[in-house]
Symmetry: C2
Subunit: 466 residues, 2 copies
Amino acid sequence: MSKIAPLSGFPEYLPTDRIVEQHFCDVIREVFELHGFSSIETRAVEPIERLSSQGEDADKEIYAISRLAAGADDKGEGDREARLGLHFDLTVPFARYVLEHAGSLQFPFRRYQIQKVWRGERPQEGRYREFTQADIDVVDVGELSGHFEAEMPLVIADAFARLPVPDFVIGVNNRKVAEGFYHGIGLDDVAGTLRMVDKLDKIGPDAVADLLRAAGASAEQAEQCLRLAEIRTADESFVDRVHALGVAHPLLDEGLESLAAVVHTVATAAPGRIVADLKIARGLDYYTGTVYETQFVGYESWGSFCSGGRYDSLASDGKVTYPGVGISIGVSRILGLLLGQNLVRASRSTPACVLVALVSDSDADRARSVGVATALRRRGIACEVAPTAAKFGKQIRYADRRGIPFVWFPGAGSDGSSGADSGDGAGGIERGDEVKDIRSGEQVSAVAGSWTPPAEDLRPTVSRVV
Amino acid sequence: MSKIAPLSGFPEYLPTDRIVEQHFCDVIREVFELHGFSSIETRAVEPIERLSSQGEDADKEIYAISRLAAGADDKGEGDREARLGLHFDLTVPFARYVLEHAGSLQFPFRRYQIQKVWRGERPQEGRYREFTQADIDVVDVGELSGHFEAEMPLVIADAFARLPVPDFVIGVNNRKVAEGFYHGIGLDDVAGTLRMVDKLDKIGPDAVADLLRAAGASAEQAEQCLRLAEIRTADESFVDRVHALGVAHPLLDEGLESLAAVVHTVATAAPGRIVADLKIARGLDYYTGTVYETQFVGYESWGSFCSGGRYDSLASDGKVTYPGVGISIGVSRILGLLLGQNLVRASRSTPACVLVALVSDSDADRARSVGVATALRRRGIACEVAPTAAKFGKQIRYADRRGIPFVWFPGAGSDGSSGADSGDGAGGIERGDEVKDIRSGEQVSAVAGSWTPPAEDLRPTVSRVV
C-alpha cells in the first residue's frame, strides 16, 4: 500500500474548515433560491466529444474515465458507448441538460447548480484539479430579454453581502463595445485584438501597443485601443468617455446602450458594487454580450472570483437556439484565499452545541444521558453524549477540544457534585440537571425539555477574523 | 456532435424531482448534525492501489481517470504520480482521510459524509454508475466502545422517521454469532459457510443445504446452519432460541451478548424499528461485529437501503489501529424507488413562492416589481419577477406551470384592473398592491414589507403520494 499523502490540486478540509465551506454553499444556495432559481445537478461525466468541442484549449483539461477492468465482458454494448470525461465546468453540462430536457422545462428557465468540477491542469496557488463552482443561469428559447443581464450581478451582490468576504466590486463590460469600436477604427481582427488587449494587466500598455503594431495596427489604432481599455467608471459616464474618442459604429452604440442599462440598474439597487471596466475581455469565442468579473478589494492580484456573461447560443439542436446569461462563483477559489490566509474561521469543529456528560457507565445512567440528548434534539439542539464516564474534568476537555460550548450534567444537583450517586431514580432522590457554559464557567439548573442556548451558539458560526 | 441521449446508470432529475432529492439530503444532514456528527467531504479520487485493495471484486467497479491530453508536458512529475480512480464508496476515502489527518482530528471522531460515488458496473434497476451515499461513522483509536453499535440504527431511525419513506425495519446481526456458532458445530471455513448461507434468499434452504453438504458439511451441520439463519426476533428472545440449538462457543456468547445489547437499546428507544435477523451476512471480509441492513416494508425484494457494520480495523498505519462502526444510506437507491414508483412528490418545481407580476415593460414599472421582490426576499420569501409584461392571464399561467402559488400585482388597485395606468407614482395616485393565491383565486391587498405566506407555502414541500 502506498504511503498516505495529499494529492496536489485536490483540496480537502478538516471539520472546522469544512463548516466554513458548508456555510458558503448554504448562503449561496439560500440567496439563489430567494431569487427563484431552481436547483439541478448534472452527472459528473459527459461524452468527451461534447466536452472537447468547447474551444481549442479544453482538451488539455479533461480527465477521461475508463473502467479499470474493462475487458472481455465489455465487448457487447461497451464498445458502442461514447468515451466519457469528467466535466470541467457547469456550463457545458447545463447546455446539454437543456437540450436533453427542453420538452420538460419551463422557459425562461432559471437554474442554479453547486457542484464539483475537475480539470487536469497543473496545480498552482488558487487553481485546483477538483473544485466547487456555484452557477446561476437564465436560458430562454429564441430570444433572451436584456434585463436578465442586470439581474446576474444583483444576485451575486446579494450573496456576497451575506458572506464574510472582503469588499468586492463586480466589473462589467459588453463584448459589442470592443467589437464595434475595433471595427470603427478599422481593426477587423476582433478576436486577435481582444487577445492582445487582454494581456494589459500582465505586460502593461507599452508592450500591448507593440503587439498591436506588430500585428498590423497603426500607432493611432493601437493608441485608441489602449484608451478604450483605460475607461473604468462606476456610473454611466463611460458612455461619454467612449464618445469622446470619436469612434462610431452601430455595434458600439448597441453595446454602450446595453452596458449603460446594466450599470444603471445595478448601481441603483446595489450602490458601489458595479463598475463598467472596458478592458474586461473574458471568453473570447464564447460570450456575445455582457461579461462579468468580480474582484475582492485588496486582493486584485488573485483575479476574478466570480465571472460569467451572456451567450446568444448556450445550446442549439440545429433548429432551436437557447440564448442564456449566467455567472459562476468560484467557491473553492474564494475558500482558498480566505482559509489559506486565515481570513475566516468557524466557531467550532462540530455541529454539536451540547455535550451531555455521562455520570457512570451503568445502563441506567447512559439511558438517562441519551434521554437528555433526545429531548434536546427534538427541539433542534445538536448534541452528543460523552463516549465514556470519565471524570467530569476530562469530559469537559472533550467538549473544549471540539469547541462544544455547553456541557450538560444529568442529576448534577445544586451542589455541583459529580452526581455519581444520582442513580436512575429508583428509590433515591432524583437530582436536577445542570448545564455549564464551559467558556464562562457559568453553571445553571436546566431542564432538557425547555432549556435553549443563546441563538448565536445554536449552530457553528462563521465569521471574518479581525 | 453526438446526439443528446441519457447515459444509462447516471440518473439526472428534473427540477421538481431534484427538490425531492434536496429534501432527502437536507433532512439526513439535519439529523446527522443533531446527533453531533461533523461533516467532511473527501476528494472524488483515490490512488487505484488503495481502491483495489478492498476485496477481490472491487477492481471491476473502479473508474480510472487519466488526463486526456497527457503527453510530453506530463513526463516530469506526472509519471511519478499514482494512477487515480473515482471512489466507489465513502468508507475507503474516509479510512484514508483518518490516517492522513489523524494528528488533527479528535477521537472518537464522529463524521458524516454525503457525496456521490461511482461504480463501473452494468446498470440495472436500482443500481447506478453514479449515485449518492450518506454515511455516518464513529472511529476511535485502539478501542471502540460497544455502545456506538446501538447508536447507528437510532440515528437512521430518527432520519427515516422524518422522511416520506415507507415503513422500515433495521435488521441487525453480529458476525461473531455465526462465526462462533460454525466453530461450535465443527465448521471452520467460516467465510465459505457464510457465503453459502448468504444465498438463502436467492436459492432457498434446500439448495443451501446441498451446497453446504457438497462442501463437506454433514447433514446435521447443514441443518444447524439453516436453523440459525431462520432466527429472527424483534426482541432479545433470539438469545434463547440460539441456546436451544445446543451449540456452545466463547465467540458465540460474545456475539449474542453484544447483539442483545444493541437490540435492547434500539427496541427501547425506537420501538418496532429493529429486528435481530441472524441470516444477515454482509461484507464477508470486512465487518467484525454488528452488521446492519434496512428494508422498506412491502419492498423487501429491493434489498437493503441502508447498511453497514463494525470493523475493528477501519484503518491502520501499521502502528495504530482505528476501529470504527458506520452505516450508509443509499440516497439514490431510495429515490430510485420513491420517484420511480411515484411514491413521493414535491409541491412545485421552483423555490419561488411568489411571482411578482410586471405591469408594463417601462423602467419604472420594472423597478417597482423588483422593489417588491427585494422586500419579500429580505424577509426570506423566495420570488421572481415576471420576465415580460405579458397580459396578467399569461403571467398567472407562467406561475401556474411552475407551481408558484402566489402572484403579486404591484398597484393592482382594489378593482383588480390591470393597473396599466398605475405608473411610477409620479403625479398619479399610487394604487395599493394585491396578491392572488392562484390555486383558490383569492386576491387580497398586501404590502411587500409585511405580507407573509402560509408557512406550508413558504418553501416547496415534499410528501408521500397517497
